[in-house]
Amino acid sequence: MRYIEPHAHMISRVTDDYAAMVTAGCRAVCEPAFWAGFDRSSAQGFYDYFCQLTDYEPRRAAQFGLPHYSWLCLNPKEAENLSLANDVLAMIPAFLDRPNVLGIGEIGLNKNSRNEVAVFEKQVDLAVRYDQMILVHTPHLEDKWKGTRLIVDVLKNNRGIDPARVIIDHVEEHTVDVVLDAGFWAGITLYPQSKCTPARAIDMVEVYGAQRIWLNCACDWGQSDPLAVPKTALEMKRRGHSEEAVDRLVYENPIQFLSQNPKFQLDEIGWEDKCRAAQK
């Protein structure tokens, strides 16, 4: 089988995970900027992080022939500090031309606070101003329903937004229709406890169809599984879905969305060259 991992925080994973993902059929991995598990003390910490996402991490992935792409932003968990947020947002445009940067993400909300909404609006404006695609994080657990509706309202109120170039991630049964009905792409995140199981993800695909939906593992330093997407593909086959239906969901769909940025290419010859460069 083959698949794209469109959302994984690889900086928090061991190198063995790259080997396992490639062995399972992963053809490209995308890494949105996120919270480090602690608040950074200054904007300079974000500068170093953005360098890691656009320089070091692609070279680590290239050792396994795996194309690595990234999304840049200030995550919503650090958006309460407006001064820090302004400093970080001012830094982002300088990174947007780097070859593996696909857009602005994962922006969004965490606790649905006023400052989070204000910073989300600023990052949406930034994306529109620089003609960038957007990857949106929706809040966890009890905050998800409210946050998803606030996010959709902000996006719909910005006239520069093309919903086809925005993916709203971490949908569940109570938010997937909110996202799809507004014309956005929807991401289903496969987590052991706090988001969605493989069986529930397949339920949603069966109910709502596979159009404008991708699956991702969003693996990070918490309890998460970098092989959640191929395991869900296996579960789809157990449920009687065809090879073609599985391929469409875990490979063709993410390519359809991500290829809207011409930088996203599965150019294996190019990546072999980068592998060799990385090994020097």
Binding site: E80, K111, R114, P139, E142, K144, W145, K146
Partner: protein, 87 residues
């Protein structure tokens, strides 16, 4: 996939989760103290589980969700508890 095949595929797993949930509530009820908003929400969600009709997962997620619409003044914390504290 028909109902029999789905039952074959998932019944053992669903049975296990149901007994785990029952044992959790037994454990809670053997302990000292009173139900907080999380346990109250869980009991309300279980009522939804017993009702006939579609979209049980969606209805339970909504019982466990913050129903308000306006942004809160401050984030306060970064983590989520799994149920709305105002329940």
């Amino acid at each position: 996939m028909d109902r029999l095949h789905l039952t074959d595929l998932y019944f053992a797993e669903a049975r296990s989760k149901l007994i785990d949930l029952a044992a959790f509530l037994d454990r809670i009820e053997r302990s000292d103290g009173t139900d907080d908003f999380r346990i109250k929400s869980l009991r309300a969600a279980l009522n939804e589980l017993g009702k006939p009709g579609p979209e049980k997962a969606k209805k339970i997620l909504l019982v466990l969700s913050d129903p308000t619409e306006k942004p809160v003044p401050e984030a306060g914390t970064k983590s989520a508890s799994g149920a709305w504290s105002g329940f």
